[in-house]
């Protein structure tokens, strides 16, 4: 049974640039897109982070980037870790991890259609939630659509 402290030390050794952001206690690790698969597999096999809680993206138009967020949890040590990947906003490409974590298959499909991130090697890259005739990526900040009427600001 690996304890949370041991896990944090092991993380510290492998990822020098660990940071803890305000309010959320889980350590944040930023990796490069090419090293994503290898790091996630390592986290799952070595440190028993067997549960991908969720995977989503943050659209940062200010610095022309989209940031992927993978949050992992370990049933064994009850520790959490957040893996982040920064990608250029247009033409963002990252390898799929749906074979490492099966739940990633649907999370990636949703993130792909909502943010326009392409997941290379995804087994079933169809749209998940959006109707087929809706093009564009809704969760991007600059998304506009005739059916989308914004709530008027309070006076």
């Amino acid at each position: 049974m690996r304890s949370a402290e041991e896990t944090r030390e092991a993380l510290g050794k492998r990822f020098p640039a660990i940071e803890v952001r305000p309010v959320d206690p889980a350590p944040n690790v930023t990796v490069h897109a090419d090293a994503l698969r290898e790091n996630l597999a390592w986290l799952r096999d070595e440190l028993a982070f067997d549960f991908l809680v969720f995977m989503t993206a943050l659209d940062r138009p200010a610095d022309d980037a989209v940031e992927l967020v993978y949050r992992l949890f370990s049933h064994e040590s009850r520790a959490s870790v957040v893996v982040r990947v920064r990608l250029p906003r247009d033409g963002a490409r990252v390898p799929t991890v749906s074979d490492i974590f099966r739940t990633a298959e649907w999370h990636e499909r949703e993130t792909a259609e909502m943010f326009g991130v392409e997941f290379a090697g995804h087994p079933d890259p169809r749209k998940l939630l959006l109707p087929d005739d809706l093009d564009g990526h809704p969760l991007r900040k600059d998304f506009s659509h005739p059916n989308l009427v914004r709530l008027p600001e309070a006076p």
């Binding site: 959006l130 109707p131 005739d133 809706l134 659509h145 059916n147 989308l148 009427v149 914004r150 709530l151």
Partner: protein
Amino acid sequence: MGLMNGLDPRSLVLRMPGGNVLISSLDAAINASRSNSLWTLTFGLACCAIEMMAAGASTYDWARFGFEVPSASPRRADMMIVAGTVVRKMVPVIRTLYEQMPEPKYVVAMGGCAISGGPYVYDSYTIVRGVDEIVPVDIYIPGCPPRPEALLHGLMALQERIRGQSVRIAPAGQA
């Protein structure tokens, strides 16, 4: 006898020794039978579906009014209760189901979402602002979700409307 209060007032009841004779119009008989046995198409989309189930359970029990049989297939359904949020991906399905229901058919828009898009009117790119953009609606039941009593009240209003219909002229909404 349940049928009695369902008939329209013009029908005549002759009290005779050894039994009564009832003289009424064909419309009254048909409307009484139609309004007292409306079969609903089970069509729960979101939260209102749970209140619809509660209306079907023993506490509120819409079987007292004749809505005994929730039929899953549109072929045997008289009434489609649209209970929940209607989104654009669902539009062709609702349209097809409505077409596949035999006349005379009625549509009840239950809850804010079905009436006008409800809380999702603003800032939703897939919302349909009211199911009456897709199918002709007979009864609107406001609420989010409406209480089972409100649903029953709406359905009784529908029964009242059916009693006023006639076979000669096409019922309202059956273009």
